[in-house]
Every structure is written in structure tokens, then in C-alpha cells.
């Protein structure tokens, strides 16, 4: 049995002393002490492994003379923390001298709280033998004629954050996540195709209590084999039915990033100056909710100590709010939304999505297919990229079918979707399904790094005017 949670370090007293020290060195300071533990068990057709990781670090952020500075250290040692605070104070002051636009922020009420993911079966208490038995079963279920390779892993992680700031807040959050992932490669002669899926929850090992492993593996393997007979997608503009996974990613990438208020504040978003205007059809309502029970992007409090909450961003097609950090809320004169997030203790805190949801509609998927004369339906996304400045998008998908005269035709493997403007896409969404996918797990980078966990629960959508190409 491998148990690594006891690497936690109690840092509360030292953090409070460090905050006292920082209060005279800065206009504002927050400190985040983050302890992480993780364990991954993996098995492929050819290999097997088990690995563990434990990290600890403290991120210090100081606001001084109109600029923020970030430093970090890896010990709960007051002398080292003071040295990191001194350095942050010095480089913030230097930055402040060279910055025309000064950063400011309001003072908020101090909060003392502790929040923790509900865990019934601690994944670190589950013997590695049990996880490997499960992995052997899933590889066996996936293995069959024409499956050349299968790879499965079970990962569990816990992150404990202790947050303190010069307003007097002290907040502890602990999140646990458990993941099962399987990918399979099908092969016929020189042709290869891949399919994958992930089953995960912000919970303990009880995540898998109701999972039918054989069915899960069977579906993934069968689909990979079916792609061997898939056709290339048609080219050009057409109607596209996006599954909940693809629709959720579309909303996240094209709308969500453009509604992060730092892009608004520095005039890099197509949504700047669009508040209280229509940018989508009246069947579209989008909200971000970091407080959602069981969401992959649920955070309880953001990395500035602000409570996470549900924020309606798009109300029946009308843009009504952006997602904020303390700095952007102050700069744009808007309410805080609890969306300030950082990858870890060495990274900066910026406005980010949490669980960004598209509200369900009224159609069945069958009704939506019957509405399409010529188009495609797509199943899953593989990668996607935002373009808040230009308003276009690139969405790569896996699986689906061609649709002709309201009927499903040949299967598709990989497709690339794009548009000249996501506002044009949103104005061409004519149907949204009743069914909504609530188990949505993702990891999102912004620009070129700064990775955070996000959820994108969504129903299926029917969108017109999408540029379709192969992949």
C-alpha cells in the first residue's frame, strides 16, 4: 500500500507571521501554501507502472506601488518567507515605477473557512494491487481482434491549499480527484485509428462504484475499430450537431475565454463593448459556477480568497457579465465573480473559468438530426483553441456521422471545425437538446500555460454556418 498524504505540513502559524511581516512591506499581500499528493497506476498492452508524487510550495503575491509581484519558496521557514516577501516587494516597486497604468484593488471582508471534497473511499488507502487488478481487467475487456494497443491509467490526486492575506482571511481548501482513462488503437494493415474516454469525478475511489468496466472498455474499443471504416468529412460550410462534450468545449473556448475580464480590460476580446447586446440566439444561456456540487472546476474559493459562485454571463443570448479577478473588477468597475485562479504556487493569478455551463434546451437529439438537410454530427473533442481577439476558433473532433436529409449516414473519424466569428456561430444555434452532460472534465491553459481544472457541462447544440474540414 502506498500512502503519501502524510507529507502535509502544518503552516498556519508561520503564514500568519509572514502576513504580519508583509503588511508593512506592501499595499496588499496574499500567500498560498499548497501541498499536493498524487498516485498513478498504469497498464498498457506492453507495460505496467506505478508512480507517486508529493510537492509543497508557497506562492507570495504582493501589490505595491501599483504593480503585483510573485515569488515562491519551498519551505515553511519564516526567514525564507520573509526573504521572498522582501524580494517581491522590491520587484513590485521597480515594476510600479515603470508602469503607467497602476493596479489597484478594493479591500474585502476577511473570511475564515475550511472546505473539503466529500470522499467516501480515500483513493490513497486503496491498495495498488486492487488498482492494478482493475487495470488488468479493463485492458482484457478492450483487447480483441484489430485492437493493436490499449493503455489505461487510474490517477488520484489531492491538493490542499492554505490561503492567507493582509485583509485577515485564512482559508483552507482540500480537493480530491480520481480518474480512470482508457485509450485504444485499432489497426488494419497500414491503417490505424484511436479512440479514448475518461471517467472521473472530484471524489474518492467511490467514483467507480457504479461503473460497468466491461461496457466502458467495450464501447471505446468498438468505436476505435469502427473508425477503420470511417470516411473523410465533407468540406465547406454546413450545419453541425455538436455532442455535449464538443458543445461544452465550444462554449468554453470561444465564449468563455473571450469573457475573461483581463482580455476585456486590455482590449483583446471580441466581447469588449458588447455588454447588454445580443450575441447569441434567445435559446442560449451560459453561466460559470465555481461552487457547483461535483463540478470538475469547483474551487469553493478562488485564489484571491473570494467565494466561488454562480454567475450568469449570457442571458437568453444577451451578454450581461464577465469573469473577474480583484484587479479587473476594480479596473472595469464591476462586481467580483470569484474567478481568479492560478496553476500553482509558482504561477500568476488571473481571471479563469471554473465550471462553464450551457443551459439545456427543449429538443431531443432525434429531432435535431431530423432538422439537418446536409451536415454532420460530431462526438468528442480532441483539442481546441481560443481566439478572443479574432473571434474565430479551431475545434478538432473525433467520431460522428454524416447527416443527409435528416438521417445519419457514414461514420466519421476526425474532423476540424472553425468559423469566421463565434458570434456568427452563436447567432446560428437553432436547437439545444434537453439532455445535458454533467460529468465534464478538462484541463485548460490560457495563452501558452497556466493550467487549471475546468468543467464544461453542456447539452448538444445544432449550429449552422460552421466551416468543416478534415484532420
Amino acid at each position: 500500500m502506498i500512502k503519501i498524504q502524510d507529507t502535509d505540513i502544518d503552516t498556519q502559524d508561520i503564514l500568519k507571521k509572514a502576513i504580519d511581516y508583509a503588511s508593512v512591506k506592501s499595499d496588499y499581500c496574499d500567500i498560498r501554501a499548497i501541498t499536493t499528493s498524487s498516485e498513478t497506476s498504469a497498464k498498457t498492452t506492453k507495460e505496467e507502472s506505478n508512480s507517486s508524487a508529493a510537492t509543497f510550495g508557497i506562492g507570495i503575491r504582493i501589490l505595491k506601488d501599483g504593480a503585483y509581484a510573485y515569488t515562491s519558496c519551498q519551505k515553511t521557514d519564516l526567514k525564507e518567507l520573509k526573504s521572498s516577501i522582501d524580494k517581491a516587494s522590491e520587484i513590485a516597486a521597480n515594476m510600479g515605477k515603470k508602469t503607467k497604468t497602476k493596479a489597484t484593488q478594493k479591500t474585502y471582508k476577511a473570511i475564515t473557512d475550511t472546505k473539503k471534497t466529500k470522499v467516501k473511499k480515500d483513493p490513497f488507502e486503496i491498495p495498488a494491487e486492487q488498482k492494478h487488478t482493475l487495470l488488468k481487467d479493463i485492458i482484457r475487456y478492450a483487447t480483441r481482434k484489430e485492437i493493436a494497443f490499449a493503455s489505461a491509467r487510474i490517477s488520484a490526486s489531492t491538493a490542499r491549499k492554505q490561503f492567507a492575506n493582509t485583509e485577515g482571511s485564512f482559508i483552507t481548501t482540500e480537493t480530491t480527484k480520481t480518474i480512470l482513462a482508457l485509450s485504444t488503437v485499432a489497426k488494419r494493415g497500414q491503417k490505424q485509428t484511436m479512440n479514448y474516454d475518461v471517467y472521473a469525478k472530484p471524489a474518492g475511489f467511490e467514483t467507480f462504484d457504479n461503473l460497468n468496466l466491461e461496457q466502458f472498455a467495450n464501447q471505446i474499443a468498438k468505436k476505435a475499430i469502427s473508425f477503420l471504416d470511417a470516411v473523410k468529412p465533407p468540406h465547406g460550410k454546413m450545419d453541425v450537431i455538436m455532442s455535449p462534450a464538443v458543445a461544452g468545449t465550444l462554449v468554453h473556448e470561444v465564449f468563455g475565454h473571450a469573457a475573461e475580464a483581463d482580455w476585456i480590460a486590455n482590449s483583446r476580446s471580441l466581447l469588449k463593448d458588447k455588454l447588454h447586446t445580443r450575441i447569441g440566439t434567445d435559446i442560449m444561456t451560459i453561466y460559470d459556477d465555481g461552487s457547483m456540487d461535483g463540478g470538475w472546476g469547483t474551487i469553493y474559493y478562488d485564489d484571491e480568497g473570494i467565494p466561488a459562485k454562480k454567475t450568469i454571463l449570457l442571458d437568453k443570448g444577451i451578454l450581461i457579465q464577465y469573469m473577474h479577478s480583484r484587479q479587473t473588477a476594480e479596473k472595469l468597475g464591476m462586481e467580483l465573480t470569484g474567478n481568479a485562479r492560478a496553476q500553482d504556487y509558482t504561477h500568476r493569478i488571473i481571471p479563469r473559468m471554473t465550471n462553464t455551463c450551457l443551459a439545456p434546451g427543449t429538443h431531443t437529439i432525434e429531432e435535431m438530426i431530423s432538422m439537418v438537410k446536409k451536415g454532420i454530427v460530431v462526438d468528442k473533442y480532441t483539442t481546441a483553441l481560443e481566439d478572443p481577439a479574432g473571434g474565430s476558433f479551431e475545434l478538432k473532433t473525433l467520431g460522428g456521422n454524416i447527416i443527409e436529409n435528416g438521417e445519419l449516414k457514414e461514420p466519421l473519424e476526425r474532423t476540424t471545425l472553425s468559423s469566421s466569428s463565434f458570434i456568427d456561430t452563436f447567432m446560428n444555434i437553432s436547437a439545444i437538446s434537453k439532455h445535458m452532460n454533467t460529468m465534464s472534465t478538462g484541463s485548460c491553459g490560457k495563452g501558452h500555460e497556466d493550467w487549471v481544472s475546468v468543467g464544461n457541462p453542456a447539452p448538444s447544440v445544432l449550429a449552422g454556418n460552421i466551416i468543416v474540414g478534415g484532420n
Binding site: 507529507t7 508602469t99 483583446r268 476526425r414 476540424t416 501558452h448 500555460e449 466551416i467
Partner: protein
């Protein structure tokens, strides 16, 4: 180091330790932050009964190191049994620091990165360009490998990287270009020259036109061609994908996989490239390896583990790839991967190619990636130009899809100049590609009209 050495004495063990210091400034004038952080961490690998266990941590006290070693040993129980030929790197003795190290970068990183930010803003303002997003990042790194066979080897180096998004107008949607600069040493003229070149291209992207769905001749820039070559050739030549039985080079040893004018080499000695190292990440001396020579597939690349599976020796290609930021390199698992994939140049410069060309020149796309299993790719054109005998019109809102196997077989010609490109998400340490521009004829473009 003493705490680590006591573990080496007890077990059949290898320890990888990375130390990273970085300074980051935002590139745009509206951002008001700076970041100056350090990170040290380690990975312990333990071999027991020919099974390899792994554990990582960044907690440096004696007890944590001991615990991490115990976890590594325990995890070996659940690893597959490796061939008897497997061992850690066994060239004994210490090596002096030998990486590309630039004191100009390392000396006062915070001041240099602040100065570079000012240089960028000044150059952009003089050119009528606004920098909308991005950062200057200076990194100093050191990694040390110690193992039970007596080696203690250290590699040290520096990086200067800049990611810039720049806009040339204020109308929505913006004409924006995203670019990445990555070098191991700093030369002001080189950096400023690169910046001015990116600004010139950004200015040409204003008011893009819509294309028609049709077939076109294409010129692909290094930032488009390089990443898809790494994704596919790098993957198919890897000892891991050979073991997994999913390399598309399987059964093609010494056979044609590309046109006779296509030669690709893994070159960990290339000056100033991101992945130029004298030792790999398990301490094996690196060397050049021919991958494709005149169109013929020549060699796979290996680390110690995958070499043992193939009953051969490591080619010095143990890599750790991470997208979580270069400072967390110690957390990334080992695999057999490319250092710098160097593709041989052609005979004509880009300017000459463009002067006689009718088609689309693609400078940047959404995500330049290709699918490992199939070689297929598809991406949105972000910065592209319709070219007709030297005249260039900006175009957008289109998708180019194809297959890497076709690209390396059917490319008509490649340019004389080459550029170093890497993954913008984590440019330091990771595999890089040194590649020319590619000219390929009659390719399908799916577009808005």
C-alpha cells in the same frame, strides 16, 4: 546531496534532480505583474527484480527524501519486468558542466527581463503595433543525475523565451499574430531582428479576405511544419512507439518513407537550440542520430528502458516532456524522445520561392499538431496570405487538412533558410525542430466561401 547519496548506497537507484530559476515579465503595457520564482525537485527511480519504480517530490529534507525512496521501491512491485539487459547509465565518473550557459541571462535576470519588456514596447510603438498578450521569460536551469553505478553528471544552461501576441489595428476582429522566440543565449540584435520581422508580418495581416473551398499550392512556414514533424516523425521513431507496436515506421527499416530530398536527423549538438544537451536525462552522452536519410528510414531513438526492450543500446534520447512549465521538469516521466529534429534545407530562399509562386503562404495556424496514430492533421489558418507572383493578400477563415506521410513524400521543394521552432506551451527543455519552409502543390482547403 548527502541525503541522496545514502539512498544510492542502499538501493539499485537513480536520482534526477532539477533546479530552475526564472524571471518573467508580461509583454503588454496593460499588465502590471512580474514573477521571479525558483523550484528544485527530484525523481527517484529504483530497480528491483528488474522492475522499475518511480516517485517524485520537491520536499528536500532527509525524511521526505527517504520516504520518496521508499515509495519508489514499493512502486517497482507493480511495474513490468524489464529485459535483463536493462541497467542505469554506467559510464562512471563526474562530468563538468557543459550545457549552453549564458552569464548575460543568468547574472541579473529580473533586470534583463524588465529591459527586454521595455525594448519590445519601444520597438512595437515605433512600428505602430500594440502588444496585446505574452511574456518575456528568462530561465536558468541545472539538472543532475546520480546513480548506483557511480555516475554524477550535471548539465546546466539558460533560456531566453518570448511569446508575443501583437495587433496591427484596433478594429474588431483584430489582426493578431502569435509568435514564440526561444534561444539559449542572448544577442540583442538577434532578438530585436526577430521582433521587427514579427511586427512586419502582423501589419500585413489587416483585413483578411475569405477564401473559396478549393485546391491550392501551399508554402508552410517552419512554425506550421515543425511541430507536426515532431508530433509524427518524433513519435514514430521513438523506441516506445516501436515497443507499443503502433509506430508507422514499423516494418519500414531501410525502406523509403519520404522523398529522396528529405533528410531528418536528431541533433542534440545544434548551436543555441532548446534541446542541445551533452547528456540526456538519465546521464547518457548524447549524439547525432540519422532518422530519415534521403527518404530512407534509418534509425529509432532510445533511452535505457526502451533500448533494453529492443535489445540494443540507448542512443542518448531519454527525455522528460512537460506542459506544466519548465520549472516542474522533475515531475515528468522518462521516455525516448527527440532532442532537436533537424530537417535538411533546400536550395532556394523563401523570397525566391514566393516570387514565382501562386497559392497560399501559411505563416501561423491554430494548433499546429498532427495525430500520432494516423499522421493526419487539420488546422485553422490564422495568419496566411494568398500569393500571386509576389503580391500578397491576407486571408483567413479556412481549414487545411492533410497527412504528414503525404507531406514528406510529395513536398516539391524546401527553402534554404531554416528556423528553430518548439512547443510554445513549454519551449524550454522539450523537443525542438530545426526546419525549412515547405512548398507542396495541389492541397485541399476548406473555407468560408
Amino acid at each position: 546531496m548527502k541525503d541522496f547519496e545514502s539512498i544510492l548506497k542502499k538501493n539499485n537507484t537513480e536520482i534526477f534532480i532539477s533546479e530552475t530559476r526564472l524571471s518573467e515579465y508580461p509583454i503588454d503595457s496593460d499588465s502590471t505583474y512580474t514573477r521571479s520564482v525558483t523550484e528544485t525537485g527530484y525523481m527517484i527511480r529504483t530497480l528491483k527484480d528488474n522492475r522499475l519504480g518511480t516517485s517524485t517530490s520537491n520536499i528536500m529534507d532527509k525524511e521526505a527524501i527517504k520516504k520518496t525512496a521508499q515509495l519508489s521501491l514499493a512502486s517497482s512491485k507493480h511495474a513490468e519486468k524489464l529485459p535483463k539487459s536493462f541497467s542505469f547509465t554506467d559510464t562512471k565518473g563526474k562530468t563538468p558542466v557543459s550545457g549552453t550557459f549564458d552569464n548575460t541571462i543568468s547574472k541579473d535576470m529580473d533586470t534583463l527581463s524588465a529591459n527586454l519588456r521595455e525594448e519590445c514596447q519601444k520597438t512595437a510603438a515605433e512600428s505602430g503595433i500594440i502588444l496585446t498578450n505574452g511574456k518575456i521569460k528568462l530561465t536558468e536551469f541545472k539538472y543532475t543525475i546520480m546513480n548506483c553505478l557511480g555516475i554524477e553528471k550535471t548539465e546546466r544552461g539558460t533560456y531566453i523565451s518570448a511569446v508575443i501576441d501583437s495587433k496591427a489595428d484596433t478594429k474588431q476582429p483584430l489582426a493578431e499574430l502569435s509568435s514564440t522566440y526561444i534561444k539559449r543565449t542572448y544577442q540583442k540584435s538577434d532578438f530585436t531582428g526577430w521582433l521587427k520581422n514579427r511586427i512586419d508580418i502582423t501589419k500585413k495581416c489587416i483585413n483578411p479576405q475569405k477564401l473559396k473551398t478549393a485546391s491550392y499550392n501551399l508554402i508552410l512556414s517552419p512554425s506550421v511544419a515543425g511541430p507536426i514533424m515532431l508530433d509524427t516523425i518524433g513519435y514514430w521513431a521513438s523506441g516506445k512507439s516501436r515497443l507499443d507496436g503502433i509506430s508507422l515506421f514499423e516494418g519500414k527499416e531501410n525502406k523509403a518513407v519520404a522523398s529522396p530530398n528529405f533528410t531528418a536527423t536528431d541533433d542534440p549538438t545544434y548551436p543555441d537550440a532548446p534541446s542541445t544537451f551533452s547528456i540526456d536525462m538519465e546521464g547518457t552522452k548524447t549524439k547525432k542520430t540519422n532518422i530519415i536519410k534521403n527518404g530512407i528510414f534509418s534509425n529509432y531513438i532510445y533511452d535505457n528502458k526502451y533500448a533494453s526492450h529492443a535489445d540494443t543500446k540507448s542512443t542518448g534520447n531519454c527525455k522528460k516532456a512537460t506542459f506544466m512549465g519548465s520549472e516542474k521538469i522533475y515531475t515528468a516521466g522518462n521516455f525516448s524522445g527527440m532532442h532537436n529534429l533537424s530537417i535538411d534545407q533546400g536550395t532556394e530562399y523563401l523570397e525566391s520561392l514566393l516570387s514565382n509562386f501562386s497559392g497560399i503562404y501559411i505563416e501561423a495556424v491554430g494548433i499546429p499538431s498532427a495525430d500520432h496514430e494516423t499522421g493526419n492533421f487539420g488546422f485553422e489558418l490564422r495568419n496566411a496570405f494568398l500569393v500571386d507572383k509576389g503580391a500578397m493578400t491576407p486571408v483567413r477563415y479556412a481549414i487545411y487538412s492533410g497527412k504528414v506521410q503525404d507531406l514528406i513524400r510529395d513536398t516539391k521543394t524546401m527553402s534554404k533558410e531554416r528556423e528553430i521552432v518548439t512547443d510554445p506551451m513549454a519551449p524550454e527543455y522539450n523537443s525542438a525542430c530545426i526546419t525549412p519552409y515547405f512548398l507542396i502543390e495541389n492541397q485541399k482547403i476548406s473555407a468560408a466561401k
